[in-house]
Symmetry: C2
Subunit: 419 residues, 2 copies
């Protein structure tokens, strides 16, 4: 009776929330000129190990298919993106601004904000090295959050620069093979005691802590903030060199979005990966790129905790589920007449429901209210007139059946909605 | 460089088509008062063998997960539906009208109209035994096809009754254990030579062929057609006892939608399954039900072959992809000013793009046209005025930058769209 652990059943009230999230994502991405694409849910396992190393397999839903192929449910979209961009490299002028809303899977322990599947918004700008691309993408991340009703008091995007840290490690004469490990230690430092991080960092500890405590910046990051300021979005961003992101392939600006209260996991994260497409495509394509992802699970948690955002969602969900008209069939001999009108109303774009089997009039009105109908239209003794009842106000009027659609249209003009 | 066999990469132009199909499905289902739900992509394998027998495993993407669970990528949605309905049986008053647009997977040989993954529209009415439910669902199937621009000259829904055949087999004194096999022979008869079917049917052959040739009907099927007539949809339907559908669990009305020319596989198919929820839920719930599915692959093929339907699709895809405004930055010192206006326009709901790096003005106009922008707005020497250029007509006007949004809004009122 239960789905697999970490998987979700979406009842209609749950899926209406998902649709709200997907629609906001879609709408804002389109305002930014991004185009939607999609990759396969199942891919060869090797495209993920090529990006993240063999350890990733432990976190995959992977298996051998009936054709002896090693395959995996996608944990992320970037390797598919690199493949698609390389395969169609000549068809598309760069830069590409592409987004997607993939369903992704990871075999890992369930915990708050983390399931074994989730939907995520992905956006990437491919083929543009200019810092304006970084700003455009961070602005998109901010505007996605704004679209859900969050203000700069609710959320913040912390922006950092991987290059700053590489320059630092180089200046400290740290051998290159130790960079990745050290970056991961710095990445984790926020979530563990200073002594522990310090012990791991050894002689580097003092200078690293100085940077982390110093609210430092760089010329590049100042320019990112200037770009956001020009758009009026600076309040949503904060330079924070403590953001490093664990993954090896980032080459420049990196960023993560959080709730200001710091109660939840990251809402979104991403950064510049100028060498990754070349690596993943075995050199078939070579483009600078920057991208980020925003998951549905933590986002939905934050919406539920924020009264303004929750009110937006509730209103949109109610509108999505609302019925325009419930047809009450008071006399069964009117059923065929009612069906003809139901068809006309639906053809006219109205959302219409009616009793599939004979039922008492009182019960039919009850169902009309349960379904959130705005109007009930009664087919009964008044035929060939029908009674239109506004279920909110109780107002009722008789109209000739043939004039029904016209009358609903004039009501819509008067009030902005039928009834 | 290729996706796995039978899987699709959707470039932006491909995904816009998918979005068009999904939106039509959603819109028509909502007009009919159906609510959208979703189940998991991965489920325990046994829910599929319980419904379809152990042979189904040969057609599944199934595997053992890292927790030693036997799991499968869903080949269809009905077993998940039965589980969800049973798990939440008391929460929802019946009848339920639910739809879903699941992504489904089958490990089978690729052929025309059949991949290893596809999206399908599913609609089910649960908890209503009345024949009105059958008519409502067939009408929905027809209206989904009408929404894509198909007329009754393009498509037909062939309606039959499993009960008619069961009554027939019983009257012929055929032992019950042979019913399923015989129904499958009848189901296949249309696609193989008469002699072959006749040999398989043996003594039943003559009376079966008489029924198949006789354009017969039943009182129940006549009532279905009356219900469709009341809605003005009878032209789209045809009683056809040759439709049997191979699956064992159908108990009443069954139907399949086809292109009239008969060139393609079925567009949709379904029927009444009054005992299945009881069976699949081990008796936890017991509801009469009827449902159908429509896949995206054959539907898209038919759209491409039908000029009217293709024109609808192309128009919707162009609108989905169109940009409202491309910002031309003629002087780099105006970039920050342009960004402020870009943000205002996007906040106002306009789809806006701009050059992420400095480029020649002529090149920027070229890109504006490639991206399908309706307007170009030029930030240059005229500052603090900007030039609005309608890319279709070539008309150009200067407007004070502060008045830009107001001017676009008044243009929209004049012409129904910005510009």
């Amino acid at each position: 009776m239960q789905p697999l652990p970490g998987f979700r059943d979406f009842l209609p009230q749950d899926w209406a929330r998902q649709n709200y999230i997907f629609e906001k994502w879609w709408e804002v991405a389109r305002r930014y000129g991004f185009l939607q694409w999609e990759g396969p849910v199942l891919e060869p396992t090797e495209i993920y190990t090529k990006k993240s190393g063999p350890e990733i397999v432990g976190q995959l839903f992977n298996f051998t298919d009936k054709g002896e192929r090693e395959v995996a449910l996608r944990p992320e979209l970037t390797p598919s993106l690199a493949r698609v961009v390389a395969a169609h490299d000549r068809e598309f002028k760069k830069p590409l601004k592409w987004f997607s809303i993939p369903h992704c899977f990871r075999y890992e322990k369930q915990q708050r904000g983390r399931l074994r599947e989730h939907y995520q918004f992905n956006a990437d700008i491919i083929g543009e090295a200019s810092l304006d691309a970084d700003v455009e993408l961070i602005a998109l991340c901010i505007d996605l959050l704004r679209a859900f009703g969050f203000s700069s008091k609710d959320v913040v995007v912390r922006v950092s620069d991987r290059e700053f840290w590489i320059d630092f490690l180089r200046a400290q004469n740290l051998p290159e093979e130790k960079w990745q490990e050290t970056l991961q230690i710095i990445d984790k430092s926020e979530r563990e005691p200073r002594e522990k991080t310090g012990a791991k960092l050894g002689p580097l500890a003092e200078s690293v802590f100085k940077i982390l405590d110093g609210k430092g910046s760089s010329e590049k990051l100042d320019r990112v903030l200037d770009g956001l300021s020009a758009r009026g979005l600076a309040d949503f961003a904060q330079i924070d060199l403590g953001i490093v992101r664990g993954l090896a392939y980032y080459t420049g600006v990196v960023f993560e979005a959080f709730d200001r209260a710091g109660k939840l996991r990251a809402l979104a994260g991403g950064g510049r990966y100028d060498n990754l497409i070349h690596h993943l495509s075995d050199g078939a394509a070579n483009h600078p790129a920057i991208g980020f992802a925003m998951g549905d699970v933590v986002l939905a948690e934050l919406i539920d905790e924020s009264p303004a955002a929750k009110a937006h969602l509730d209103k949109a969900v109610a509108a999505q589920r609302a019925l325009d008209v419930y047809i009450v069939i008071a006399k069964e001999e009117r059923r065929a007449d009612a069906l003809a009108q139901i068809q006309r109303l639906r053809d006219g774009g109205y959302r219409v429901d009616y009793p599939l089997a004979p039922a008492k009039v009182g019960k039919q009105f009850q169902i009309a209210e349960q379904l959130g109908a705005r109007l009930a239209i009664l087919f009964g003794d008044e035929w060939p007139q029908v009674a239109i009842k506004n279920l909110a106000t109780g107002n009722q009027e008789l109209v000739a059946c043939d004039a029904l659609l016209t009358r609903l249209e004039s009501m819509a003009r008067e009030t902005g909605r039928p009834g």
